[in-house]
Subunit: 452 residues, 2 copies
């Protein structure tokens, strides 16, 4: 569906929803991919969106619901009666059902869990035990597994019997008598095997799996490293308990990247692109603004200490923004590379020293280059003494900012804090204060010495 299609159909739906013409609406939506329906509904006015969504049958509604962003989903769900909600949850895969139920108000969640199929309800309760951001929290209980001693033919029958329940099958997992994961059969191998062959004669035994408590970012790195489309999840004794598929991992990766990017920008809670509450957005952005606020009051205090110099030589004031900005930019560049390397699992703690020395060299290179430029510009106007003093300060400020920029992410990781916050206002504010102190301290010292 291209943009023009979407615009046209959205317009039609808006009109038909106002007319309450559910027959025509369903005719338009039949055969449309759930992801496209989600996009169409999202483009409608709130009232029309609710009306159109209420006309879709529970099976389709469950597929559409998982395609919404959290904000749109919560808005639509909050208006549903719990009977309708239960019908929809009943049609969902266990992982999606768990996501939805965990976001419901407690009393609604209880009602839904009571009225859905008992088997489904048991599954959801089981999945709710796991932390949301772990392998257990994102896995589904829908997968196909067989005994390693069974035949290929049996494995095919097992796929058939679970065909409705498990929508996407990439591998059949093989377990021993106690349920421990011992291998897997990609469907391609299954198709090429003879039906009488035993599973443990054809299966792949080098099976990559994760335990339930592994963090989802690490799970994503495993998918990326080994080029996986699905990954079996085992408990602490190696029993097969669930499966994660790559489409969920794609969402995790998007989520983690957005989180990192938002942390860089100093947004505390993850801000949804579709969030409309001004108060919610504002409050999510406020904490780091306040950290910056307090930090810059400290910077004002630091400037106050150099009041005499500042009053004496107005040129010192003029270059404050330059010193702050160059320190800030160089610091963020160094921090960003380190933070990204850590997030992708490509920088081990052993590489800290090598990384720091590299950043120091880079900042000396670029700092010196800018210092020469500054010497040229400022020297022309204020004379070579002042120019060289400014240039030296520039090198010191850039060097300091880069060193801390590269250092702080490693330190944060050491204390199990997400290094991504290092690229945000925290490090900028810190660098501003230290940078201004270095700049004014050095300049005051040098000028006093030189002008004597």
């Amino acid at each position: 569906m291209d943009k023009q299609d979407i615009a046209n159909i959205t317009e039609d739906l808006e009109y038909l929803a106002a007319e309450k013409n559910s027959g025509l609406i369903l005719n338009i939506l039949v055969g449309t991919h759930p992801a496209d329906i989600a996009m169409l509904v999202r483009g409608l006015s709130e009232e029309s969106a609710r009306y159109v969504f209420s006309r879709i049958d529970a099976d389709m509604a469950s597929d559409v619901l998982v395609e919404f962003d959290d904000v749109t989903r919560d808005r639509l769900v909050s208006e549903l009666r719990h009977e309708r909600l239960s019908e929809i949850v009943d049609e969902m895969d266990s992982d999606d059902a768990t996501d939805l139920v965990s976001d419901l108000p407690e009393e609604v969640a209880e009602k839904v869990l009571e009225s859905i199929d008992t088997e489904d309800s048991k599954e959801v309760k089981e999945l709710l035990q796991h932390e949301e951001d772990t392998a257990g929290g994102i896995m589904a209980l829908e997968f196909v597994s067989v005994s390693e001693n069974s035949s290929v033919d049996h494995a095919i029958r097992e796929i058939r019997s679970k065909a409705d329940e498990v929508e996407e099958v990439y591998n059949v997992y093989a377990v021993d008598n106690e349920g421990h994961l011992v291998g897997f059969l990609p469907l391609k191998k299954l198709i090429l095997a003879k039906s009488r062959q035993k599973v443990n004669n054809v299966m792949v035994t080098d099976v990559i799996s994760v335990q339930t408590d592994v963090d989802q970012e690490e799970v994503a790195n495993i998918f990326r490293r080994y080029n996986l489309v699905s990954l079996p999840v085992v408990d602490d004794v190696g029993k097969l308990v669930g499966r994660i598929t790559v489409d969920d991992i794609v969402d995790v990766m998007e989520e983690e990247a957005s989180e990192d990017i938002q942390k860089m920008a100093g947004i505390a809670d993850e801000e949804e692109i579709r969030e409309t509450s001004v108060v919610k957005i504002s409050i999510g952005r406020l904490p780091w603004l306040l950290v910056g606020f307090v930090g810059q009051l400290v910077a004002a205090f630091v400037l106050g200490l150099f009041e005499v110099s500042l009053k004496e030589i107005i040129a010192l004031t003029l270059f404050i923004p330059l010193m702050m900005a160059m320190g800030g930019n160089a610091g963020i560049q160094a921090a960003t590379i380190v933070v990204r390397g850590i997030a992708l699992g490509e920088l081990s703690p052993g590489e800290t020293a090598a990384r720091l020395s590299r950043e120091v060299k880079v900042s000396l290179f670029n700092g010196s280059l800018c210092a020469v430029l500054l010497f040229g510009v400022a020297g022309m106007i204020y004379g070579p003494t002042f120019g060289s003093v400014l240039g030296l300060s520039m090198v010191a400020v850039v060097l300091n900012a880069s060193f801390f920029g590269a250092c702080i992410p490693f330190v944060l990781r050491r204390f199990k804090i997400d290094p991504a916050i290092a690229t945000g206002p925290l490090i900028t504010t810190f660098n501003d204060i230290v940078g201004l102190s270095i700049y004014l301290g050095l300049v005051t010292l040098m000028l006093r010495f030189m002008l004597k």
Copy 2:
């Protein structure tokens, strides 16, 4: 393999490489996943890495090579004789072979293309026609397709005959007599179908595909939106020409996220985490540092215009860092949300106005809150007149920064420039200059008026 394993084995390999004990090295590596071998080799000294890599047979070497980051790969490849290189390329999938060949020096590339299998060489040359960042540039020519009129049994035979060539099969594509893509058969459906059934009776006809010239970021969004594991690529008349698999898309997503994050930090060329050349790193970071440098010279000029006010009231100088930082932070927050929304395809041009009004409201909310705080702090020290003037300036600075922060990404998209650069030094520098002008202009004006 956990971290301890890797450390131990790396140590062993380092020792054995020094001893040139290739027998033991191969014994250690047998049965190890190519991705793990890549990680091990990367941890070795340059000489040992070359030795170990040279001992691996061409088939495994081709699998290992695609797992390296670009820097490590280029370093190892540059040392290989072109005969060995040709052996390795011969074992690669067409997309990986194309990637590798396109990065080789021209004369080496020509030699390799001459000495590999003519069929492979034709494929690589064909793929080299497409832009690197498009669907055609990332697709592979290895896929299984059958005529829509053939039987399920024939499809299975086709998978068998291509089993060696096409490592991962998720779907069999169905084409008409002219080769146009008309449907696909997921392997699960294929397994459950009867062998005599005709493909066009069991295939899925709602097939999602892309044309060769679609940008890879858009391809990634399609995978994400429709939860795909593979996507057929068609030419401009709808003929099936290639296939993209999700593992490549996972890499694309990682690449695009890293690119956006690095642009936010003002790094011009994509900087590899493993890059070791200080000069290369420095030059990649220099352009935006220089933009900041020139911009802040303009800021210095702006401050110079207010020299009289700054000399008269030293407190004005003390709050320069605060005004700059608050504008900078608020601007980056607004820009980041908009840039991310555009990158994920979730903000359409039609939503520009709504987005801007939201950002203005948010900045009024947070700006006012910070203004009240500033009024309190500065008012206590410098009296309520100065406090209220500072507070008003703060609102103006934050409002201005947020508005431009949210606006500029949309403007850049309009001119087909990647909006991600808006979150980097460009907007910060711009905001610094405008913010300082607003701050000092407003304060000077108001104080002159009030103190009369």
